[in-house]
Amino acid sequence: MASKETTITAVPEHTVEIITNSGEGAQKCAQIFGQTCAKMGNGVWTVEIIPAEIEPPHHTVTSTSGNIIRFGTDKVTNWGDRSKLAIAFNDQVLLSRHRLDSFADDCIILHESIWENHEDEAIRDGYAKAMKEMSSKNYRFIKVPIEEETLKVVDNAQHGKNMFALGLLTEIYQRDLSIIEKQIAYIFRTKSAKVTELNVELVKNGMAWARENLDFQFIIDSVPAEESRVVMNGNQACALGAIAAGMEICAMYPITPATSVSHELCDIIESYGGMVHQAEDEIAAAGVALGASYGGKVALTVTSGPGLALKTEFLALAIMVEIPLVVLDVQRGGPSTGLPTKVEQSDLLAALYGQPGDAPRVVIAPRTIEECFHSMITARRIAETFRCVVIILTDANLATGVQQFTRPDFDERWQGELIDASPVPEGLRPYDWDHDTGMSRRIIPGTPGGQHTVTGLAHDEESRVSYDPGSNERGQRMRSRKLAVFQSTLMPPPIYGDEEGDLLVVGWGSTQGAIEEAVDRARAEGRKVSSCQLTFLSPLEPGLKEIFSKFRKVMTVEINYSDNLGDPYITEETRRLGQLCWVLRAHTLVDLDCWTSVPGQPLRPNDIYNSIIENIENGSST
């Protein structure tokens, strides 16, 4: 591109994609860029694009790895709609994103120039076909000699193209280079100083190239926060929350996308007197956590859908013997091994009911990355107060998304002791259930006067195996009653928007930001739409039936599967619904509808908006 005049456009927000082959460092580039935006005071939300396979063949549509960064002047609560700018290291990864309709029609695409005239004919052909296929859109393509420029600084372009790309973004969006330099130094802190120097040089080269060759820049104002903030992803937040909650042991077995929770914990938990135990499998991990809790420790086990399935036996034992246990399930696509790296909310029914026998437990779902942190504290407290299992449902969207939030102000009461280790009064039995509440004192091994055995078999108040009909009825009733007691402490969920109207959209977990953005758009058009994001899923928050009664229609929006009415064989009778929709219909006897989608990625506000409009205009009343 020849010498030019630069057009500077002020925009409230932008969505950017960096897309590469797996292993080319897109995540690192995006991580630094996202952190920099956050530190400058922009609202940020990032989403990882992770290939389903560990080592997919390079330069193919299946090899796409990358990151989407949405950042703006105001708070950003979801990944938004289509991207306005993309940097692609080859035509095939670009094509894969185009096929997913990821780019806005006027998207600016900076792509590697080397492939067009590559010596390999197959690559040239692939490039030509890709460009032809994408010509249906009005994208603005700009060829960038990414590899050529990178090789001016390092010998191996694979280890530097990402930093050159970071330099392009730094110049286009006028980011603060000093923050970027600090981020680079931090990321490569374990390497030699030379590595940091080279990476900074690459960034500067990228900036210089952009300054010289690009004719546009975007200005996105930032407002530095008054309060102290932290920037992290949901798995990091869960790990730090676990430490803040005083959790002493995390027993786990590696499973995507939950593993990085334990990585985070491994780095720091020993400094706080805790430990991470990698067990030989998911079942053993649940057993270790349960055993630790039995011994009086604050225990956590971390998993994802397939692992939750394997843990069911031990969860049942925890419920039966009333040992507190916190389970973090970072949901992914299912069933079976499903979509390990992709987003879904399809473990809800498994978390609520995935157990032989009646096994009541608490299920909660944080809605934001900040709530991932705080939910760990709440989960511990509930588990210990009611001697129960608490399952926290996050998902891959929260797990890998990055957002900034107010730095939590640690309070020692988060770790307050709930175990009464004083001698057990004579006559007090291990399961001396209070008839009204089902609650009983937790007696840990070693407590004077508290010696008893525990059993997964039906047992009486003395903790002795008992098959008589009365004691089994009593045990079931007491374990169930605790949940009713806990529910009595819950308050009705808040409504986003008016408390009555034409449509209430009900969601849970990570979809909050996208749902509320869609609701805002509909309300801006005068539509009477509100939303309600549930966080307590078992027991459910009270007052739902009354809330629903004030709307003409109620619809859940979820990232799990439901049949579409009108598809072959799908009728009102045969239609399978979204998981929360099933639960709410059973709970309230209200005829809820649902809109769900399982694209393996977070829901887009625009898609939810379209479903809202369609439901209002075409759906029948609830």
Partner: protein, 323 residues
């Protein structure tokens, strides 16, 4: 190199180990604060204890009515728990100084190290006292003394794994490192900062298969020492001494474990403090025998190190008790 710089090298080498220890002490102190402040059977406490996630979703008043009333420590338990808390606080207040032992000339190294570890061990005994008090098993006459001192031999395996490292500043005359061998266990680490010319191979006496040993004459950082997962000893000595690293993870045989080895060009023939020339020669011969593949013969016998130790050995009667 200036004494302050060497002290900094020593402190850097033990910092990660000691951060781990201090963090554990701080975490215990936090837990004690939580224990004493209670989780609360009042709504105000619950509004905090339940965390921000519950705000607006849980009725804290109601929730607190179901909280087990266990947080209030009974009167008998509160006093020892508060005493233990004071111990933890006092240890935390000392910061890095807790891990630096300056040995006055002529003092007994073994006794001083033992006393310092006993002082540090109060972090562990404080945890024991808290546990005993919570369980109603604390006996003043039996357990109170634990908070005064908790010697190394009473530390359990987990406590030894958490043992902090010590920097010991001492003069060459008092540098008899073999006296710390009883404390080389699990992850214990010691760095000697030696003032004056010490025995050229003084640290050879603590070499054993599982112990990382580094004698350093220059200004190199003790990175490998700091990273070694196990017992380790290092000494920062003058340039007249040998420098070497014995890294147990580097090989099967003893000589393979010497990842670096440099003998001094010249060794002084002077007794140092109570350490005779003969003893120094023994140190030297020991280092050589551990680090060299085989006894030098033929041309190899002209190796300067071989000659040096042979000369040193010839200067003394190893069978006698001369000083």
């Amino acid at each position: 190199m200036a004494s302050d710089e060497r002290k900094q090298i020593a402190l850097d080498a033990i910092s990660s180990r000691n951060e781990l220890f201090l963090s554990a002490v701080a975490a215990t102190a936090d837990q004690v604060r939580g224990l004493l402040s209670g989780t609360g059977d009042v709504a105000e406490d619950q509004s905090v204890a339940l965390g921000a996630f519950a705000k607006g979703r849980v009725d804290f008043n109601r929730f607190s009515s179901f909280t087990p009333k266990v947080a209030k420590i009974d009167a008998a338990a509160e006093a020892p728990i508060r005493a233990a808390q004071e111990v933890l606080k006092s240890l935390l207040a000392q910061g890095d100084e807790l891990f630096v032992l300056h040995l006055e000339e002529g003092n007994n190294l073994s006794r001083k190290v033992g006393r310092r570890l006993s002082l540090i061990g109060r972090a562990f005994s404080a945890a024991h006292v808290i546990d005993l008090a919570k369980r109603g098993q604390y006996q003043e006459e039996e357990h109170a003394a634990m908070l005064e001192k908790f010697p190394f031999h009473k530390w359990n395996k987990s406590e030894r794994a958490l043992a902090p490292a010590l920097v010991i500043e001492l003069s060459a005359a008092d540098f008899k490192p073999s006296v710390i061998v009883p404390y080389l266990d699990e992850h214990s680490k010691f760095v000697f900062k030696v003032e004056g010319d010490a025995s050229a191979a003084a640290l050879s006496r603590v070499i054993s298969p599982g112990v990382f040993v580094q004698q350093e004459t220059g200004d190199a950082a003790l990175d490998a020492f700091a990273e070694f997962e196990g017992p380790a000893v290092a000494a920062l000595v003058s340039t007249n001494a040998a420098s070497f690293i014995h890294d147990p993870s580097a090989g099967e045989t003893t000589y393979e474990r010497f990842v670096s080895l440099e003998f001094p060009k010249e060794v002084k023939k002077l007794a140092i403090g109570g350490i005779s020339v003969a003893q120094q020669a023994q140190d030297y011969a020991l280092l050589e025998s551990l680090s060299v593949v085989s006894v030098p013969t033929g041309d190899a016998a002209s190796d300067p190190a071989g000659k040096l130790s042979a000369w040193l050995l010839s200067q003394s009667d190893l069978t006698g008790s001369s000083a």
